[in-house]
């Protein structure tokens, strides 16, 4: 028996010893179609990547709620949304977060199809190496994460400080604010409770003799066990506690004469101005070939600008399928940066000014499999969405979202 128990314990230990540490935030957990059709995140940048405790990092980028947002899910134009950060607990403190320059302490709404800039400043608190994501939480839908990056905090958490100045002019440290009051009043009430319990258990034994006495006297006469001394003690505790509560309230009002209720509310944020109609697209056909992990889209592209344009990138579900001919050799930021460096191939990829042309793009990479996007074919409405990035001759970038019905191919 003992051998079995020891064996089970040793076996359990191997999971802790040899198991791989999990850092994921659900990047692959959600339905493929859902990841592709909710939020497009791009240009996410974290600087610096390595800081010591009390230093600040900035995470910034862009996002655009998809116009193909699934109808069965609440979207941020109709429900509240909140810009958040996906990190393992308060290893950072958020000192600022903005969307298009508007502070995001509170929640807001975002229009579908519009573009928003975000920037979050975080102060390092707990040493360690963390994978962090921007997150947009949407009421009744939940958190939707952007692509993550690794950051490292060095130093000692004991040196962390988080001081702010109140509207009454005091400088307080949020790490310890109110701790004296918490300790004082908890100890006070515990002392009161212990005193009450001590009175009844001051002389052991208590339970069995009283139980037998209650049984002997019966329910009608058991109250005779309560003595006058007990009654006096009861009255003293009853009155004393009411007085103590009142006194503590008055004392607190004197200590903190200026207080306000907890604050909530919404803020309004306007989207970034659009890029005009330099590029217009019309999706003609979209097919996903399951065995080849290949997504093929036929598009009709119109170039209304005054410079030739080429398609450089196809972004969906935080995966960047890059056209090497246009973007060159794009290097991943870290080992978990989701880039298919040669994942995008485009036929006839040069659209002259004023030209309307049909092009075919193929987004191909093993990431379709590893990021569980092949399960797109099992979605109930078989639709997709992606952000396309076109570049003109001067390197100027135009983003436009494509989406619609998708047809799977099984051979």
């Amino acid at each position: 028996m003992y051998k079995k128990i020891i064996g089970i314990l040793l076996l359990s230990l191997t999971f802790f010893t040899f198991g791989e540490m999990a850092f994921a935030h659900g990047e692959r957990a959600q339905q493929a179609g859902l990841r592709m059709r909710t939020l497009n995140w791009w240009d996410i940048e974290v600087t610096p990547k390595k800081v010591t405790v009390n230093e600040v990092i900035t995470i910034k980028g862009k996002f655009s709620p998809s116009v193909w947002w699934p109808k069965h899910m609440a979207n941020p134009s109709e429900r509240l949304a909140y810009l958040n950060i996906g990190v393992p607990g308060p290893v950072f403190v958020r000192i600022d977060s903005r969307v298009n320059g508007v502070p995001m302490i509170r929640s807001t709404h975002f229009e579908l199809g519009k573009t928003y800039d975000f920037e979050i400043k975080l102060k390092a608190r707990t040493p360690g190496r963390y994978h962090m994501h921007p997150v947009l939480s949407v009421h009744d839908t939940g958190p939707i994460i952007g692509s993550g990056q690794w950051v490292e905090i060095t130093g000692d958490q004991k040196n962390f400080e988080n001081k702010v100045t109140t509207l009454t002019g005091e400088v307080i440290d949020l790490e310890t604010q109110g701790m004296k009051e918490i300790a004082t009043w908890h100890l006070f009430w515990v002392a009161v409770g212990l005193a009450w319990m001590f009175y009844w258990f001051r002389k052991l034994p208590v339970l069995m003799p009283r139980f037998k006495e209650v049984e002997r006297l019966g329910p009608l006469h058991a109250n005779d066990m309560i003595s006058m001394k007990d009654m006096v003690v009861g009255v003293v505790f009853f009155g004393g506690i009411l007085i103590a509560i009142a006194a503590s309230y008055v004392w607190t009002q004197n200590q903190y004469p200026v207080t306000t209720p907890l604050q909530t509310g919404e803020v309004e944020v306007a989207p970034l101005p659009g890029q005009g109609d330099v590029v217009q697209i019309k999706m003609l056909d979209a097919r996903y070939r399951l065995p080849g992990r290949s997504f093929k889209v036929d598009l009709e592209v119109t170039n209304n600008g005054d410079s030739p344009i080429r398609l450089g990138e196809f972004l969906t579900a935080n995966i960047r399928f890059v056209n090497r001919d246009v973007m060159g050799d794009v290097q991943p930021i870290d080992e978990q940066d989701l880039i298919a460096k040669e994942g995008l191939v485009v036929d006839d990829n040069l659209i002259q000014p004023g030209e309307m042309r049909k092009i075919t793009l193929r987004a191909e990479d093993a990431l379709w499999e590893t990021m569980r996007l092949t399960s797109l074919v099992y979605d109930p409405d078989s639709r997709f969405a992606a952000m396309l990035f076109f570049f003109d001759g001067e390197g100027k970038r135009y983003h436009i979202e494509v989406g619609g019905q998708m047809m799977p191919t099984f051979s």
Partner: protein, 267 residues
Amino acid sequence: MSTEYLPGEVHDDELDPNEIRYVEGAVRNSAEQLAAYKNIDLATLPLLFLLFGGISVFLFALTVGDWDFWMDWRDRRWWPLVTPFSLILLPSVLGTFMWLKFRLPMGATFATMSFLAASWASRYANFHDFAGFPLNFVSPSTWVGLGVVLDATLLISRSFYFTGFVGAFLFGLLTYTINWPIFAPFRIPIEYNGTMVTVADLMGYMYIRTAIPEYVRIIEESTLRTFGEAVTPLTAVFAGFVTILNYYLWCWVGHKISVSRWMNRII
């Protein structure tokens, strides 16, 4: 089947049916009985303390949860209502049991003390040490004084009806007041990035909770219309009334579980 006897084995055919056998009791005199009763106290109370602490923390997490976990969730409309309504359960049941079986007015104090101890253990180990939140942001509320008030009311009145009417009402009514000395340092206003927030709001913003976006704690979605800023007192009175009703309900449960049919068989 083998008929071989194993060494030391006694078989029915070896016993003398006419032999008179005396069974000696475990307790031979009053001193030993006293010691045994003391041991019952010393063994029962810590076990009950752990049991009720665990039950109450679990129950509280299910019924109140985030509204009491975080300093920035303890608002003046919902928190003072939902917490006493939920927390009166075990003090009612245990208070009824301890009174009916032992005439000891200490069930509510015992329940609130065990809840407090378990809450501190949970907040320190889970929220502070493991998850890394500052202890001041996740410290529990206090209820012990209200537990003693409930017990003292039962002692003075010797009536569950009166205890519900006065003690349970005070339990709900004074929930916010007894905790105000703990909450007040977190209600000081701050201007932060052009927004007015309290210290608690700012801590909720700064100390990142990925799974708890700001909008889930949106409070005061309606108005009291005619009572000005007297939101908390009105909530407290209403909390007192609903706590009375819940106290009576769980007193009834306490009466049911105090039936000593099975206990009499043991003792």
